[in-house]
């Protein structure tokens, strides 16, 4: 089965417009000004779906839908946002539990009907959806149980983040289509003569990315002595203008490298400031004074970024039997979006949408989290996937002793 870039862009646009329509419905009912921040399609391991929700409590509604597409969709507000919304509908309504619940259900019903209807109209087919089911859960439990857990290890997920203007609260719309039906729809809309990508190769590439993340995590562990685990690896597809928004507004320290070959693009290794200091000091033989980043910290971060980058991209090169060069690392210390903005602008000269490869790793021993984001050139990634021999997918390591015999 194939999917082409144009179709991915169209499906992403559908999800985005659906989320916009849902948001406008809410704004009309409540007077709360909100906008859709990011919409992206992600191919991710089933067990990692909803990882961004961990640590928060949510209320919302869940629907299942069937027809030309089957699956589930969820609208999830964090609990404070839900109270604000219900109070905007009915002043004081959040104090009455039954009223609050009814308000969330009704707003959710209206919002999500608009979301689903857009898909049905585009596909020129009916998509039926169930009445809303009210949910009140924590973290990723807010998402529905998968219907066929053994069918596919990786699933497509549409996720929209909606931001309330002037407030630091977000809510989420997730759409989790059943794999087979969605893949068929994508295949039907694919231009197989043009830029189509076999879906199984996207899966394989995702597995290679997981392997690269684990290698990068192993490298961190070897350099710092801190047991480090690869957490999430996923490949997403979004308009190029949305790419910087996905990194957020927190301040990061890390490295940027440009890689050239097939594919070419940019790769970022980012640490939050506390993690950067912790990991740099774990790499250095002496205890550092103070809690500010020094030149020594930055030099250590630069080298760690370099080594993590290699760990991440070497597997691609070895599986593809090619070489992927990368520039020396450039240290960055700025707001996430500001780091990504010029890179997205550079890539955006040649493409309207982008694949974004995201990975995360963490350790329980000290406060430490690292993110890796790759922004490959779309055309070259497609060429790389065309050349990808799925039978070689696990041959990510090179045998240096054999080569230097």
């Amino acid at each position: 089965m194939n999917v082409d870039i144009q179709s991915l862009g169209t499906f992403n646009q559908l999800a985005h417009e659906g989320a916009q329509q849902a948001t406008q419905s809410m704004a009309q009912m409540t007077g709360i000004d909100a906008s859709v921040d990011v919409t992206k399609i992600t191919l991710v391991d089933r067990e990692d779906v909803g990882e961004a929700l961990v640590g928060q409590d949510f209320v919302g509604v869940q629907f299942d839908f069937e027809g030309v597409l089957e699956g589930d969709t969820v609208l999830a507000f964090d609990t404070d946002s839900a109270d604000t919304m219900v109070d905007a509908l009915i002043p004081g309504g959040s104090d009455d539990e039954a009223m609050a619940r009814s308000g969330v259900e009704e707003v959710g019903n209206i919002m999500m009907s608009g979301f689903i209807d857009g898909w049905a109209d585009y596909l020129e087919a009916a998509i039926e959806h169930s009445p809303p089911t009210y949910i009140e859960k924590s973290g990723r439990e807010v998402l529905p149980e998968t219907r066929h857990p053994d069918d596919h290890e990786q699933v497509f997920v549409f996720k929209s983040e909606i931001e309330w203007v002037g407030e630091s609260v977000n809510f989420y719309i997730y759409m989790l289509p059943e794999y087979e039906a969605f893949a068929e729809v994508m295949t039907e809309h694919a231009d197989t003569e043009g830029d189509a990508i076999p879906i199984d190769k996207l899966h394989t590439f995702n597995e290679m990315t997981t392997s690269g993340t684990q290698k990068a995590a192993d490298n961190v562990e070897m350099m710092t002595g801190i047991p480090t685990e690869a957490e999430v690896s996923q490949i997403s597809f979004a308009p190029i203008t949305d790419v910087p928004k996905q990194i957020g507004t927190d301040t990061y320290v890390g490295t940027v490298v440009e890689f050239t070959g097939v594919p070419s693009g940019y790769l970022l290794v980012l640490f939050d400031e506390v993690s950067a200091i912790n990991v740099a000091e774990a790499m250095m033989p002496i205890e550092m004074d103070g809690d500010e980043l020094t030149d020594q910290h930055e030099s250590a971060i630069e080298e760690l970024g370099n080594i993590m980058t290699s760990g991440f991209v070497d597997g691609w090169a070895n599986v593809l039997q090619t070489s992927v060069d990368h520039s020396p690392p450039r240290l960055v210390h700025d707001m996430g979006r500001s780091i990504m903005d010029p890179l997205a602008a550079q890539v955006g000269q040649h493409q309207e949408h982008a694949f974004i490869i995201d990975s995360r790793m963490k350790t329980d021993d000290i406060e430490f989290e690292a993110e890796i984001h790759a922004l490959p050139n779309e055309q070259e990634l497609r060429r790389a996937l065309e050349d990808l021999d799925v039978e070689r997918a696990d041959e990510t390591d090179a045998d240096v002793e054999q080569i230097f015999e």
């Binding site: 250590a300 080298e303 370099n306 080594i307 290699s310 070895n318 039997q321 090179a398």
Partner: protein
């Protein structure tokens, strides 16, 4: 003690290599790019060059090629984060005598040096 030239654009990595090597080796120079590596090699003719690959101005494979062209008996160990088979083959073609991938630990560095410059 063997003379060693360290070529790596990372100050952190140069410090780490110096700490590993200085007990049993004489560090004759530390440089940050391939151009400087060739220049200092020609001035000092050390027994061994520990050569990074990804460096600004000129990369370590080009620098190795130039050093080996000038002196086929030069000893060069690539000391790099790059673990790609094609790059390793390029390093062999340029004349590299050994290849260590970062991150490394002291025993693997000493072992690689022993293979190339036996004490």
């Amino acid at each position: 003690m063997p003379d060693v030239l360290i070529a790596d654009d990372s100050e952190f990595m140069r410090n780490l290599l110096r700490e590993i090597l200085e007990e049993d080796h004489t560090i004759v120079g530390e440089v940050e790019n391939g151009v400087e590596a060739v220049e200092v090699y020609k001035e000092e003719t050390p027994d061994l060059v520990m050569m990074d690959i990804v460096m600004p101005i000129r990369d370590g494979i080009e620098a190795t090629d130039e050093i080996k062209s000038a002196n086929p008996d030069a000893n060069v160990i690539m000391c790099t984060s790059v673990g790609q088979e094609e790059k390793m083959k390029e390093a062999v073609k340029a004349g590299a005598d050994g290849y260590i991938t970062k991150p490394f630990q002291k025993p693997s560095v000493i072992e690689a040096i022993e293979d190339v410059v036996p004490s």
